[in-house]
């Protein structure tokens, strides 16, 4: 395993109590990353949205119903034990998707992808999208495309890159100014900066000075209940999606409401009560 001691581990925490489901993050992502659109975008299975906002309800009837919105970018899994074997990376026969040990970002290289879609089958979060058609912009609209992200073509898979180009630009700028590293504010994803409610916090989970680290408080030890789970949050209000799969996602969610935290996984009857108070090994030491 290649692991630089100074490696970053970029991640995100999304406050579901602040999220209003307004969709700014989705549109900001589309606009930042040259995501195309087509005539009918209501078939959500072929509608490309790197960031997608899901609606969850508590399932209760009127007037006790509650609703919460859950933005879902690529979860940038670090795989079992955090060794970089993300579900998608493990199955890609073309090395078109790879795990960056220096950043924790799961990449997607469009020109390598030949469209087998194994990764889409492997992703437990439906975060990957296939280009069934070539993108087409109405006449003149290509003029707003950004050169920082290459437009994709028919037959390849695409997904959220944590706005990797923004990281590259920030690094180039720092290099040009003779600085070693980049500041927290210099590299922020498009969804984070767009969120009018300030629900998304992005940064380096390895850097204790970053807000995301302070909120998540990732546990340095593996979960004693499941050795594949690392970086579990020690914040009792924070959870990850399908955490026990050991995918070790780097998107954390925050909610005061128990039913929302419970919605992060599928639990058998009575199971939730056993696990709900378990927040990382260190909290039990």
């Amino acid at each position: 395993m290649i692991q630089d001691k100074k490696a970053h581990k970029f991640g995100m925490v999304i406050d579901l109590d602040k999220c209003t489901g307004c969709g700014s993050c989705m549109v900001s992502c589309m606009s930042e990353n040259n995501v195309p659109f087509k005539e009918d975008e209501s078939r959500k299975k072929d509608s490309i949205t790197w960031m997608r906002v899901y609606k969850l309800t508590n399932g209760k009837s009127f007037p006790d119903t509650q609703v919460v919105y859950m933005p879902r970018p690529c979860q940038h899994c670090s795989g079992k034990g955090g060794h970089g074997h993300s579900p998608c990376v493990s199955v890609c026969p073309a090395t078109a998707t790879d795990y960056g040990y220096d950043t924790g970002i799961v990449s997607q290289i469009y020109t390598r992808c030949f469209g087998c879609r194994y990764c889409m089958g492997a992703c437990p979060y439906h975060a990957r999208y296939f280009n069934w058609w070539d993108p087409k912009w109405p006449e003149g609209m290509e003029n707003y495309l950004s050169p920082n992200v290459s437009p994709r073509m028919r037959g390849v898979v695409e997904k959220c890159s944590f706005c990797y180009h923004r990281y590259q630009l920030a690094r180039e700028k720092a290099y040009g100014e003779g600085r070693d590293g980049i500041e927290e504010s210099e590299y922020q994803t498009a969804c984070t900066t767009a969120c009018p409610a300030g629900a998304i916090v992005f940064g380096d989970l390895n850097d204790p000075s970053h807000m995301v680290h302070q909120i998540v408080k990732p546990d340095p030890h593996p979960d004693p209940m499941n050795k594949y789970v690392v970086d579990k949050s020690r914040n009792p209000k924070v959870f990850r999606l399908l955490e026990r799969l050991g995918t070790n996602t780097k998107i954390y969610y925050l909610s005061e409401r128990e039913w929302v935290r419970k919605a992060g996984d599928n639990y058998l009857d009575g199971e939730w009560d056993k696990v709900k108070n378990h927040h990382g090994s260190s909290s039990h030491e």
Binding site: D17, S28, K55, S61, P147, T193, P196
Partner: protein, 706 residues
């Protein structure tokens, strides 16, 4: 030649060796892999230097500051502008998708004139001289008041120039589309006297009692409200949301109080009654009618009566009243949804009366009674005799709706020519069919529009105007913002098509009309006009991009006049006899009023709102007799009928059907049009007597399996 076994094997082996050694196979594989890596049809965006321009977005009344990232001079991304006093870095999805409007397929690319049923492209010179000719004829007939104009708002220099044009021409008939701002101005006028508007200091309030205001669904200045809402938790502020449906605002609220649709005013007055009865009010500067009002609410809005009308528990009303009265900085917010259409003055006044009773006027965290903007100083318009006579006449209608009624009712044309600027009444007013009918009856309609929308389609001449990214304009804050800020829209790109600033189009038109009208528009260009009319503010506007006119609570306690409510004006009822009530839903992902949704924003709309070309209506499963979730249904109202799909939603009150506003456009744009139903097609206007507002908050409806 005889092929024997030896030579056959020899040739065979030779061929195999040849194929293996030959580079052809490799070459072909290599070529095919290279070929599959070529996508000549995929655009390669041009790279270049990155720069940022700041401007202001005017897609909605929020007027947020924006930062436009440009690469080699090409705008590629819109983001919120950090430090801007309205939105401080935040942006909504419509603003972020703003670049799509620039290159929208339904943009009007050149002036158009209708010839029969089709539009033909003409030059600006032709368009101006043709329009000026038609207008000159109206003046010659000595009835200049028969030129009417519909704009989106009344404030700012562009609406000011339209007003000036009408005055110089000789017509008082300028109408603005219903908006939250116009409703707030009317409310302020009713309770505090004319010339005022209301600002809600949501970011400092510790108890927000919202009567259906979609604080995170586009009410007011949306991003400002988002931010105020998001900081609630840290500030330990509480939000109570009163409305029949679990909107996103209700979902994020600390308490959702479902009431029957259209009974918000009753609840507000019921709370007033409890506050007065329990002496939980602050009678500062109550001017007229308080005693009468106090007596009236005790009788007409007694606890049991209100509980019955609204469908809630009497104890709950008392509890809300006491929490509201005892909060440190409470504020009550009127305006269902975005607060623009389907509103009534009684409700606005009743809700604002809560603010007056609790004594939060002009206090931090309360409601600011702010003077309407008057930062512009236009020189007096030059008027000839024709103009003096025409402009001196009474306005022919009280509102856009009233104008439509008058035009439809008359046998002879009462309006000879109509200007429409930045408004889409043929889509956004209720029962738009009657609006289109009225437009057809008006002999000459000129649309100042960037897009070929429903209203532009009805025009005889379209003067294409620049979008907010291509033009200059001052935009005063409005719509309930508790600060008075003038923003400056600055062009970030040269016009993409043959379009002009609306102000420049008016200057050209007035020059062509000559005489006193031309004299009234003595500027070379709109830019020159803007510089001169903004006076002292110009340097800040042009350099910093905005001016903060006032911030923080205004001084003094304004007078409160209870006369209007003391007479207990009648409550508007939903039209029709059916059992259920259809209400429009304002959804942040969609737009109301003049703006059509962008393809990006439409992409974020749930498939439980729009699926294919079918609109999905919300209904509580308890009400949905014989219907299936996701099934087809026919929705019938006294005004129309529509085929819909059904979404079972436990978050909507039984007996209510919710249909989203902003779909069902009919103009030519395959990405955003001909999807779903325009809810306005199913709702007829219900005019509130006195205020003249179209107060149709919904309509009675029935739904059956299709």
């Amino acid at each position: 030649m005889k092929v024997d076994r030896r030579s056959f094997l020899g040739l065979g082996l030779g061929a195999v060796a040849g194929v293996v050694v030959s580079p052809v196979g490799l070459k072909l594989t290599d070529d095919s892999s290279i070929w599959t890596q070529n996508w000549p049809w995929t655009p390669v965006p041009i790279d270049g230097e990155i720069s940022y321009d700041s401007s202001v977005c005017n897609l909605c009344p929020g007027n947020c500051g924006i930062s436009v990232r440009k690469i080699a001079g090409r705008p590629v991304k819109i983001e919120g502008l950090d430090g801007y006093p309205v939105n401080d870095g935040g942006a909504c999805l419509h603003g972020i998708a703003g670049l799509q409007y620039l290159y929208d397929p339904s943009r009007v690319r050149t002036p158009l004139r209708k010839n029969g049923d089709i539009f033909e492209a003409i030059s600006w010179d032709e368009a101006i001289s043709f329009t000026a000719g038609k207008l000159a004829d109206i003046r010659k007939s000595n009835a200049p008041q028969k030129l009417a104009c519909i704009t989106d708002k009344t404030q700012g220099s562009v609406p000011g120039l339209f007003k000036r044009f009408l005055t110089a021409f000789g017509s008082p008939n300028l109408y603005a589309m219903p908006s939250l701002e116009s409703n707030l101005e009317l409310t302020a006028q009713t309770l505090h006297g004319s010339g005022n508007t209301l600002g809600f200091d949501l970011e400092n309030s510790d108890f927000v009692l919202s009567f259906g205001a979609g604080l995170i669904e586009g009410w007011g200045s949306p991003v400002n409200c988002f931010k105020a809402n998001a900081s609630r938790k840290e500030r330990h502020a509480v939000l109570y949301q009163v409305e029949p449906r679990l909107s996103n605002t209700a979902a994020t609220a600390d308490k959702w109080i479902p009431v029957k649709p259209g009974t918000e005013a009753d609840l507000a007055l019921g709370i007033c009654a409890v506050m007065i009865k329990n002496n939980l009010f602050d009678a500062a500067n109550f001017k007229a009618g308080f005693a009468k009002f106090a007596a009236m609410v005790q009788i007409e809005y007694s606890l049991d009566k209100v509980a019955q009308t609204c469908g809630i528990n009497p104890g709950e009303i008392e509890k809300i009243a006491s929490l509201f009265a005892k909060a440190k900085m409470p504020v009550a917010v009127p305006g269902k949804g975005r607060g623009d259409s389907g509103q009534n003055l009684k409700e606005f006044a009743a809700v604002h009366t809560l603010n007056c009773l609790v004594g939060n006027l002009n206090k931090t965290g309360g409601v600011f009674i702010m003077a309407q903007n008057d930062y512009l100083s236009f020189p007096e318009a030059v008027m000839d005799n024709v103009a003096e006579t025409g402009a001196g006449q009474e306005k022919m209608a009280g509102s856009v709706n009233d104008l439509v009624e008058k035009v439809n009712a008359a046998d002879k044309p009462v309006v000879d020519a109509l200007f429409v600027y930045n408004a889409n009444p043929c889509y956004s007013l209720s029962a738009p069919k009657r609006v289109r009918q009225a437009f057809k009856k008006i002999p000459f309609v000129v649309s100042f529009s960037s897009f070929l929308d429903e209203t532009a389609m009805e025009a005889d001449v379209i003067l294409p105007i620049n979008t907010f990214l291509e033009r200059m304009e001052d935009v005063p804050s409005q719509a309930g913002l508790a600060k008075n800020i003038i923003g400056m829209i600055r062009p970030v790109i040269k016009p993409v098509f043959d379009t002009k600033d609306p102000g420049d189009a008016l200057i050209l038109l007035s020059t062509a009309l000559e005489g006193t009208i031309a004299e009234s528009f003595g500027w070379e260009s709109y830019a020159e006009c803007l510089e001169s009319v903004t006076g002292n503010n110009w340097s800040s506007l042009s350099e910093e991009g905005h001016v903060v006119i006032s911030e923080g609570a205004p001084e003094g306690v304004p007078e409160v006049d209870f006369t209007f409510l003391a007479t207990n004006p009648s409550t508007v009822q939903a039209q029709g006899e059916f059992e259920l009530t259809l209400i429009p839903i304002d959804n942040m992902h969609l737009t109301g009023a003049a703006l059509t949704v962008s393809p990006f924003a439409l992409k974020t709309v749930s498939d439980r709102v729009l699926t294919g070309t079918d609109i999905v209506v919300e209904i509580n499963p308890a009400t949905a007799k014989g219907l299936k979730d996701c099934g087809d249904a026919i929705l019938t109202t006294p005004v129309g009928e529509a085929r819909v799909k059904v979404n079972f939603n436990e978050g909507i009150m039984p007996g209510v059907i919710g249909m989203v506003r902003g779909l069902g456009h009919t103009f030519d744009n395959k990405f955003v049009s001909n999807k779903g139903v325009n809810v306005n097609d199913l709702i007829g206007p219900v005019i509130e007597s006195g205020s003249g507002l179209d107060a149709a908050f919904g309509i009675k409806a029935k739904i059956s399996k299709a």
